[in-house]
């Protein structure tokens, strides 16, 4: 099998000056989508197929850094955090994953599959009113992924999936901190519509591929896999 062509890391903004010369011999594939969109299932399948095809794969996600991941949850329970505080907290967690996991893996030639990336953080922050310009600037240290998919599922459908799976709605994922509605169902739907709208905006700005997540798991899986295979084939030396 031919190797994937090496290239310099590409950053969104100012980047990380001490990592500017690092070369990526792997590729970064991102799957975005709200809870209940089938995102994690698809990520698992993508990893299985990539490994079966002989790629070395590393996975990453949000709230996973050793240092910060648990801290985020503690802080959420103790005191309500301001919108900028929350945005920066998640950015710190992401930065830790980026520098300790994603970049070293890319450098070593792994295909990195990210179960969510900065776009979720930007969307959450933007719908809470921190300003699109600010969140764009904040993630100026992030590297540009090679492929980004967004699993789009209508909010009403999401509600049923989330409820079936967890039996309850997550406080922040329902936008309960935003005072959208006293009714949690209504709040959830309004919030997810706002997130979806924000993603539509982000999609055009950052080249995110919208995928219809309302279909069956195998259908969505085949769709994603075809696109990933085509892309990786085009990247070989």
């Amino acid at each position: 099998m031919r190797e994937i062509a090496p290239r310099q890391l590409r950053f969104y903004g100012e980047g990380i000056s001490y990592l500017r010369k690092v070369e990526s011999k792997g590729r970064l594939i991102v799957v975005e989508g709200p809870d209940g969109s089938g995102r994690s299932t698809q990520v698992d399948q993508i990893i299985a197929k990539l490994e079966a095809a002989g790629h070395a794969v590393v996975t990453t996600g949000l709230k996973r850094s050793e240092l910060i991941g648990s801290g985020i949850l503690e802080a959420k329970h103790k005191l309500p955090l301001g919108k900028k505080t929350l945005a920066l907290f998640y950015a710190a967690d992401f930065a830790d994953q980026l520098e300790h996991r994603i970049i070293p893996a890319l450098h070593a030639g792994y295909v990195v599959v990210a179960d969510r990336y900065i776009y979720t953080l930007m969307a959450r922050s933007n719908v809470r009113g921190t300003g699109r310009g600010w969140s764009h600037d904040l993630f100026g240290f992030a590297i540009k992924p090679d492929l980004v998919f967004y699993l789009d599922v209508p909010p009403e459908e999401l509600f049923h999936r989330v409820f079936q799976k967890y039996g309850t709605l997550d406080y922040y994922e329902s936008g309960a901190d935003m005072g959208l509605s006293d009714d949690l169902y209504e709040s959830f739907v309004i919030y997810q519509e706002k997130i979806a709208k924000e993603f539509a905006h982000l999609a055009s700005k950052y080249g995110i591929v919208r995928v219809d997540g309302g279909r069956s798991i195998p259908e969505v899986g085949t769709d994603l896999q075809t696109r990933i295979d085509e892309y990786l084939e085009s990247q070989r030396l």
Partner: protein, 222 residues
């Protein structure tokens, strides 16, 4: 706001300023760098393990600042309080840049913070600051000496280089953002007197004409 390197005497001075303002009957709120409960634990845990990259280090301090800003500084300014801060965003501008973060990026991250009415910058040669620190305790701390930057294996030498770079960054900001330079080698009382004179210029203005705290200094999109 007071800024300057460790051992520059700024904490002593801001303490005296605090007492004085309260004695004048003003409502005062005092806040310190890296003191929010939310982030404190994580930052100190990371520091102990020396796990933090400059970017993460920077963002954790920004989180701490944002928490204090959103929770205390911004609402209290609006309510007419005098807010005193032992270190403000300028500490991030100097330290993060010395550790290798992009200056433009760090400023953008903190763009939501209002420019203080006065920022006192305590100008002290690093050698004098180090003597003052070592009077209180025998050893320099790992991050204080900039040991994470691999400047030198000798922590005193590392301290001198690191603090020298910090001072260069501070000096580059003099003349902007209402910086007032205080000679930190002067006597404690002389310094305080100079500071009080500057503060009087600001608080004697009728409250209505005080610059309103600005939510963002640059267009932040929609």
């Amino acid at each position: 706001m007071v800024e300057g390197i460790d051992g520059s005497g700024k904490s002593t001075q801001v303490h005296l300023l605090d007492k004085w303002l309260r004695s004048l009957g003003l409502r005062v709120f005092f806040t310190e760098w890296n003191s929010s409960d939310v982030v404190k634990e994580i930052t100190s845990k990371g520091k102990k393990k020396a796990l933090l990259t400059p970017t993460t280090f920077s963002l954790l301090h920004a989180t701490d600042f944002a928490d204090r800003y959103e929770r205390n500084i911004s609402p209290l300014l609006e309510a007419g309080y005098c807010v005193l801060a032992d270190r403000y965003v300028y500490t991030a501008f100097v330290r993060d840049v010395v550790r290798g973060c992009s200056p433009a990026w760090v400023r953008k991250v903190y763009s939501f913070a209002a420019i203080p009415d006065i920022t006192f910058y305590f100008r002290v040669p690093p050698e004098i600051a180090m003597e003052r620190i070592l009077e209180g305790r025998p050893k320099l701390k790992y991050y204080e000496a900039g040991m994470d930057l691999n400047l030198s294996n000798d922590e005193y030498e590392s301290y001198r280089i690191f603090q020298g770079r910090i001072v260069d960054q501070y000096e580059s900001m003099v003349g902007r953002d209402r910086f007032v330079v205080i000679d930190g080698t002067l006597g404690i009382e002389e310094q305080q007197e100079r500071m009080r004179r500057q503060v009087l210029k600001v608080i004697q203005r009728p409250v209505a004409s005080l610059p309103a705290p600005v939510e963002t200094r640059r267009a932040g999109g929609t």
